[in-house]
């Protein structure tokens, strides 16, 4: 819980264009990526943004396809707000916060064409691969939507398919192939959430800042060709947005897209290099 007096001070600072940690309104905290947090997962990663930490694990299974997409694999995104990560989270049914966040992250990945679902078909109408993107919070200091999404992208980029025995119709969990997931890397969507305090906008809030916000707009952008494409958007919170707010968000989003996109690219590349070194030994 953020004290009212803290919220007031956050608002005062942000209205003056300042933040407690000295960042500019559109600056991120330091981002740190660590791969392989679980060797049981098909792909896994920890992402830290300042003091916020989330982990994401990819698991795969074989399932029946949906009747309206008989030749396509399936995907499910879930988010657990672990009580271990914050005094504000409790055990029990998934809260609306976790459901909404997972659905936002899911939407960008699904709509962008980042995953080639047709290549996840094993036998049309009968068997397809399903991808489970499971995200969990380790420490909550704000901006969980963007952190979770970043973790999902990195886990997907570095996941390897498990061994599947078609005859026995069984996955040999724990045994991995060298085969990556069928991804269209050029269509990778980046998630950016803009928060509104009074008439100011900012990104990557700490928990105190986020609690002082009246609303947010999440924008998920990919750049498959020359221009930026919005794959998903969602307004959250009670704040209202003006046409000028949206214009400002689009301008800043283009800049942030570049930064986060190249961060994912360089981290994924690092993983490939290090992975190859290991397999040579």
């Amino acid at each position: 819980m953020t004290y009212k007096v803290t919220k007031k001070n956050v608002v005062k600072a942000v209205v003056a264009g300042k933040r407690f940690d000295g960042r500019g309104l559109f600056d991120h905290r330091d981002i740190e990526v660590r791969f392989g947090v679980s060797n049981k997962a098909e792909g896994s990663v920890s992402v830290k943004i300042g003091k916020t930490e989330v982990v994401c694990g990819i698991k795969m299974g074989v399932a029946e396809p949906y009747t309206d997409h008989e030749n396509e694999g399936t995907m499910m995104t879930s988010l657990e707000l672990l009580p271990l990560s914050s005094p504000n989270f409790e055990y029990g049914q998934p809260t609306i916060e976790s459901v909404e966040t997972a659905r936002i992250i899911d939407r960008g990945i699904r709509e962008s064409g980042f995953i080639d679902f047709k290549k996840l078909c094993i036998k049309e109408g009968e068997k397809v691969w399903s991808i489970f993107i499971d995200i969990a919070t380790i420490n909550d200091d704000g901006n969980l939507i963007d952190a979770g999404s970043l973790a999902a992208l990195l886990a997907l980029r570095t996941a390897r398919k498990p061994v599947y025995d078609a005859e026995k119709d069984k996955i040999e969990y724990g045994e991995f192939t060298d085969e990556k997931l069928p991804l269209n890397v050029d269509k990778m969507p980046v998630t950016m959430t803009f928060f509104k305090i009074d008439d100011s906008l900012l990104v990557d809030p700490t928990r105190d800042e986020e609690d002082a916000c009246e609303g947010r707009l999440t924008v998920e952008i990919s750049k498959p060709g020359k221009e930026e494409i919005i794959n998903a958007m969602q307004k959250g919170g009670e704040a209202v947005l003006s046409a000028e707010d949206i214009e400002k968000i689009m301008t800043e989003a283009t800049k942030i897209f570049k930064k986060l996109n190249s961060l994912v690219e360089s981290e994924a590349e690092k993983f490939e290099k290090e992975g190859k070194k290991k397999s040579k030994k």
Binding site: E100, S112, I229, A232, Q234, K235, V240, S242, A243, I246
Partner: protein, 233 residues
């Protein structure tokens, strides 16, 4: 290839036949039905009333709660009755879309329950729900600053259209999904946005065009809402 003619023959900025009626649930403090083409939403408002259990009360302002629900028979293949992840999310974004209308600071300790049910669905159900709920709130005599109107703007190929149908949502070009769905709710006076979602593929340069289409469409819907409210009183 491009989307030069709408599947149902409408103009790009033309809404489906729209009708609205106030006072359809006698038990409720306020109620309305809003139909847009084949999409029909019915909304009922109960409250403001004392919020129980007491610990959920906010001593500073009232609470607006939205319950969005699609009836199991409102779509092609039956949907399981009850709360789903989708309906939870829509309830939440609808709360955010409606809260800025209501002077909740005048109603501390109370709750306003808004129940939205979809009788028949052909795309744009969350928007129809918001339109019905705004009228139901007015009918209930809840202190309000202004009304809100919502519409689903779509991009078919690279054409921007207003009030998309299910058939348009499933529009494809070269065997690929080519429809983008953008539900938007706009306040009637200040023209500020209270709901905005998107899924699909919209170039950032087209955001302005989408906003303009939403503004025009919301104006038309606002007129229908006002007309229904006047007819009732």
């Amino acid at each position: 290839m491009s989307y030069t003619k709408r599947i149902d023959g409408r103009k790009f900025d033309e809404l489906r036949e729209t009708s609205a009626k106030i006072g359809v649930v006698p038990n409720a403090d306020g109620s309305a039905i809003f139909a847009q083409g084949d999409t029909i939403a019915i909304a009922a408002v109960y409250g403001p009333k004392i919020l129980n259990p007491k610990h959920q009360q906010n001593p500073e302002k009232g609470v607006l709660r939205v319950h969005y629900n699609m009836l199991s028979f409102s779509v092609g293949e039956r949907i399981r009755p009850g709360v789903s992840r989708r309906s939870q999310e829509i309830s939440r974004v609808t709360e955010w879309a409606l809260t800025p209308l209501v002077m909740l600071e005048e109603l501390p300790g109370t709750v306003i329950d808004v129940h939205i049910n979809i009788l028949q669905a052909n795309a744009g159900t969350r928007c129809a729900g918001i339109n019905a709920a705004a009228m139901a709130l007015a009918h209930a005599g809840v202190p309000m600053k202004e009304l809100v109107s919502a519409v689903a703007i779509g991009q078919m190929g690279d054409t921007i259209v207003s009030d998309v149908t299910k058939e348009e949502e499933d529009y494809e070009e070269d065997g690929e999904k080519a429809a983008t769905d953008i539900p938007i709710a706009m306040l009637s006076n200040s023209e500020k946005i209270t709901l905005m979602q998107l899924d699909g593929k919209l170039p950032t340069r087209k955001v302005k065009e989408v906003m303009e289409a939403a503004r025009e469409a919301c104006k038309k819907i606002h007129d229908i809402q006002v007309k229904a409210l006047k007819e009732y009183s």
